[in-house]
Symmetry: C2
Subunit: 282 residues, 2 copies
């Protein structure tokens, strides 16, 4: 039997909700798989192999594109509620009845929706670089994010140096190591998303982030043990939102990393895998 890694795992497909979902599945079988939910305009290939292969040593890892993203068919819905429903359909289509769910950035919103909509499906929840409905500065892009997403980059994937890392020398050096790992897979790489993805996801972000009465009340319904992780200096979804998640979820641990922005898990991949593994195995 071939032991697949982030580099070699083939892209597979499964149908559900009228959507053909692209996914990759690898790692040690037998336990509860960990399902990864990706950030704004990201695909299966936007994860860090140091993170995914790090987890794959001890558990099955499932990466997938939600509806309308890259090699998955369908369209990106304009609400996270519908993205969550699609993700639940995908997980069930694999025949799984219990998973751990990791959501990064806007797919931390998807991960919350999965847990709210299918509580029996989710054993433990990991929320990375994300926030609650109606969180601080989440209705529209904050000045730092406007600047970062408004600039041009050559090569284009250098945008992630600004999105995921702080401006410090140490963080940028970690970012360049991340980019090397990120680019390492060259065969059967997932295509970039089409031009309809960003507008649909942006519309959904506006609805999720909009201010409202008692915005954090819904978090009381998420009873799963939850680990909230972020950099202490996240300029995309402000770090205070991770604190708000921890304060309002009934059973949540919080970890904030030093001198780290939105992609703290790529700045400290070994530490992140160790912390999350301790949490998942508790």
């Amino acid at each position: 039997m071939t032991i697949h890694t982030h580099q070699t795992a083939p892209t597979q497909f499964v149908e559900a909700n009228g959507i053909r979902f692209a996914y990759r599945r690898f790692g040690k079988r037998g336990g509860v798989p960990l399902v990864f939910n990706q950030h704004f305009t990201g695909t299966i290939d936007h994860w860090d192999p140091a993170v995914t292969d790090g987890f794959a040593k001890d558990r099955e890892v499932i990466l997938f594109n939600n509806a309308g993203v890259s090699s998955s068919s369908g369209e990106v819905p304009t609400t996270f509620e519908k993205m969550g429903a699609n993700a639940v359909a995908f997980i069930k289509a694999l025949g799984l009845t219990k998973v751990d769910v990791l959501g990064f950035s806007i797919s931390g919103f998807v991960a919350q929706e999965i847990t709210l909509q299918a509580p029996d499906l989710v054993r433990r929840l990991v929320l990375v670089g994300t926030g609650p409905r109606g969180g601080e500065g989440m209705a529209t892009r904050m000045p730092e994010a406007q600047q970062i997403f408004g600039a041009t980059y050559d090569p284009p994937d250098e945008i992630w140096l600004s999105v995921h890392f702080t401006r410090s020398n140490a963080s940028q050096a970690a970012g360049r190591e991340f980019l090397k790992r990120f680019r390492r897979r060259t065969e059967n790489r997932d295509p970039q998303v089409n031009e309809k993805v960003a507008p649909a996801q942006t519309e959904a972000i506006g609805k999720w982030g909009a201010p409202r009465e008692s915005p954090f009340e819904y978090l009381k319904s998420i009873r799963q043990p939850t680990l909230v992780v972020n950099g202490g200096k996240d300029v995309i979804i402000y770090s205070v939102n991770s604190f708000i998640l921890q304060q309002n979820l009934p059973n949540a641990q919080l970890i904030l990393y030093p001198d780290a922005s939105h992609g703290s898990q790529y700045q400290y991949p070994e530490l992140f895998v160790a912390h999350v593994s301790m949490f998942l195995d508790a």
Copy 2:
């Protein structure tokens, strides 16, 4: 050679600054020792053996009474600056030139002072259940703390069930296990503090917690890698102060534990020792 533990380590004494400091020292030698700084009115015997012996497997542990506390001579100063200076004198009197420092509750203030006054002495810093100068709700006792410290307990050490743990069944059950461990040492136990300790420490707390201009600016001078740990529901020093510490220290990681109050490290001793050990060994 006898291998000592929390239960068996003899109380030793060392002179410095005209004070005879009581301390206990045990655990695996050869690395950087970890010096523990105790909470309000607490002594050497207020630490949890599950924590101290947990660390002692891999490093030397030093517990001590600062000036005027229990079996140490002298008087409790009415500023944390002076308590920090006494702690520095104690550490140097042991002939140590580099230590890791752990401070819990008001001795998290002492630990910050040690680091500010003797930066070359401190390798890494662990701040547990504590806050910055002029932190939120730190100038006077908040309503929860007034209620807890104003009540009577029989036996008296049951006060720690209210100080260190939340009111949930799970937290209180962990608290009763803590109390069993806490009471286990019966021989050569440290005496309770005299009646002058609480007023002096309380006066010092008032000065430390008082509001001021740019209260958190001084934290930029603490360059050591720092781990900030607390329960997410600390009612003695509000948990938001741990977030403030992380946000303002140049190189700090934050961990908040679920359903835990001031003594989260006694609710999750194995997890706490594992997290802190990962940090100290990084």
